[in-house]
């Protein structure tokens, strides 16, 4: 069980977040940039000191403003992946991983992580010789080398293309389960939230807006059973007794069939809404 209550004046707003998560939870912090998500991660890692509150991890107290307890990052069982990966440029992949190993750590975990993250053959390369996805996997493996209780991920997939993103998500899910981690992820990507996490916190200006499972937080509120797009009329054509209206939506032209009554008064260039009930849409996987 991890409980935290964090308060701090962050300049533009007051951060005030209280939350509890169980062992093995995968929590995503979601919200607009500048909502305080990264600050929460940094506080959990010990890199940023809150103004008030506490952090309890299991039976350990990492922070308690009332008792003046503040554990340094070195004293916390935390692994962190930074947005820019923060790989050490002078060290090879293997050296990066080995550096993260505690003094009495077992080197076998390095081999294991190398295998899980499919880094075999890259061990002797420098980070600058790796692709973004490879760097990301090294950063993830490095964060896990000391077998942390808590894994912190600060938008780790933001710089990757969609295909690589999905693959790294698989690695993330795999290690999360395999090592029984409790994970905190900062993400903007809705697909990522649904795919990875079992709990979501939506933040705005330092406060919790909504919390719960991804489907609770994101679907029930705006469930309408309807698709709706806005576009511009580019062409109108009479065919027998019906009208065919061509509408430009984003970069696609869509032809919509309508009765003459519906399109009465329409002219090329008008802004229109195209809507449809979602009870029979075609759905297909595209990659």
């Amino acid at each position: 069980m991890i409980t935290f209550d964090l308060q701090k004046n962050l300049g533009d707003f007051e951060l005030n977040v209280r939350f509890e998560l169980g062992e093995g939870d995968f929590l995503t912090l979601h919200g607009p940039s500048g909502a305080g998500k990264t600050s929460i991660l940094r506080m959990m890692a010990g890199l940023l000191k809150p103004g008030h509150g506490f952090i309890e991890v299991g039976n350990e107290c990492w922070y308690d403003s009332a008792k003046s307890i503040w554990k340094k990052p070195q004293e916390r069982s935390v692994g962190m992946v930074f947005q820019d990966y923060a790989l050490f440029p002078t060290m090879t992949v293997r050296e990066n991983l080995a550096f993260a190993l505690p003094k009495k750590g077992d080197h076998r975990i390095l081999d294991e992580l190398t295998e899980i993250m499919e880094l075999g053959g890259l061990e002797h390369r420098k980070p600058s010789q790796l692709s973004g996805g490879q760097q990301q996997r090294v950063a993830l493996a490095r964060a896990l080398a000391k077998k942390p209780q808590l894994l912190l991920l600060d938008e780790p997939l933001a710089a990757l293309d969609q295909g690589m993103r999905l693959r790294v998500q698989d690695y993330l899910l795999d290690v999360h389960r395999r090592y029984g981690l409790t994970t905190l992820l900062v993400s903007h990507d809705m697909g990522e939230v649904f795919r990875l996490s079992n709990r979501v916190l939506t933040l705005e200006k330092g406060r919790i807006l909504r919390q719960g499972s991804p489907s609770e937080v994101f679907t029930h509120k705006n469930l309408s059973g309807k698709f709706q797009f806005t576009g511009h009329v580019v062409h109108l054509k009479q065919e027998d007794t019906i009208q065919i209206v061509s509408v430009l939506i984003d970069n696609h032209v869509i032809k919509v069939v309508a009765t003459p009554e519906e399109v009465r008064g329409f002219a090329v260039g008008d802004k229109v809404i195209v809507a449809s009930k979602a009870f029979n849409p075609m759905i297909r996987k595209i990659d």
């Binding site: 990052p73 440029p89 002078t90």
Partner: protein, 223 residues
């Protein structure tokens, strides 16, 4: 041309560079990461040798190290150091005179590192010391090289400070730049030219090395 002044110049430059590096490393670290309100004061003091005439530094060091004064007496009585008109005094003076040339590249190198490197290392459980020596300093090795080479070259180019505090004692304080001055005073232009040409070619080569390295042409070797 005698080799004495040239050898002395090299000895002075080497010893100054090594000692100054050891002093400047923690100093640069502190300046790069400190948020103390005294930081601007210290930065200013370190940069002073860039703008002050070397004679000013030489003059105050001469006064401070003089056996007539408290500091000079203390150094002489308790540490057996005679810093006026001696090689040891020249080393101290050169270290002060070259301070900005060592500190500024190191400080800039450290300050320009992504802050995440340091934090990532802390989260891995590494101390500040281990982080500095295994992560930060290796990452700024081109800055370190620049600092070392500039200090070395700048110490070779010293004149005013040496003249004030060292004088012109053969094999003790008579470095090449002083020897040139001395030869010209005695109208031995050929000798002066020999020393001058030697220094010219040497400093040119040293600076060229730094610029070539910084332009990235040696990156494959140094990275």
């Amino acid at each position: 041309m005698e080799w004495g002044p040239i050898i002395l110049t090299f000895r002075l430059a080497s010893i100054t560079t090594v000692l100054l590096f050891l002093v400047a490393l923690p100093l640069s670290y502190w300046i790069a990461f400190s948020r103390s309100r005294w930081k601007p004061v210290l930065e200013t003091l370190i940069s002073m040798p860039l703008v002050l005439p070397p004679t000013v530094i030489g003059f105050y060091l001469l006064v401070a190290f003089s056996p007539e004064n408290a500091l000079g007496t203390f150094l002489h009585d308790y540490m057996g150091l005679q810093l006026v008109f001696s090689f040891e005094g020249l080393v101290i003076a050169s270290m002060i005179y070259s301070l900005p040339f060592m500190v500024q590249p190191l400080q800039a190198g450290l300050a320009n590192l992504p802050p995440n490197l340091k934090e990532a290392s802390y989260v891995m459980g590494k101390s500040r010391m281990a982080t500095a020596f295994y992560v930060l300093f290796p990452t700024i090795k081109t800055s370190i090289l620049t600092g070392l080479v500039l200090t070395f070259a700048h110490t070779i180019g010293e004149f005013g400070v040496v003249l004030m505090i060292g004088g012109n004692i053969p094999n003790e304080t008579r470095v090449a730049s002083i020897a040139i001055y001395d030869e010209v005073e005695s109208l031995n232009y050929a000798n002066a030219n020999a020393y001058s040409l030697f220094l010219f070619i040497l400093t040119f080569s040293i600076l060229l090395t730094v610029y070539v390295i910084n332009s990235g042409q040696f990156k494959r070797i140094w990275k």
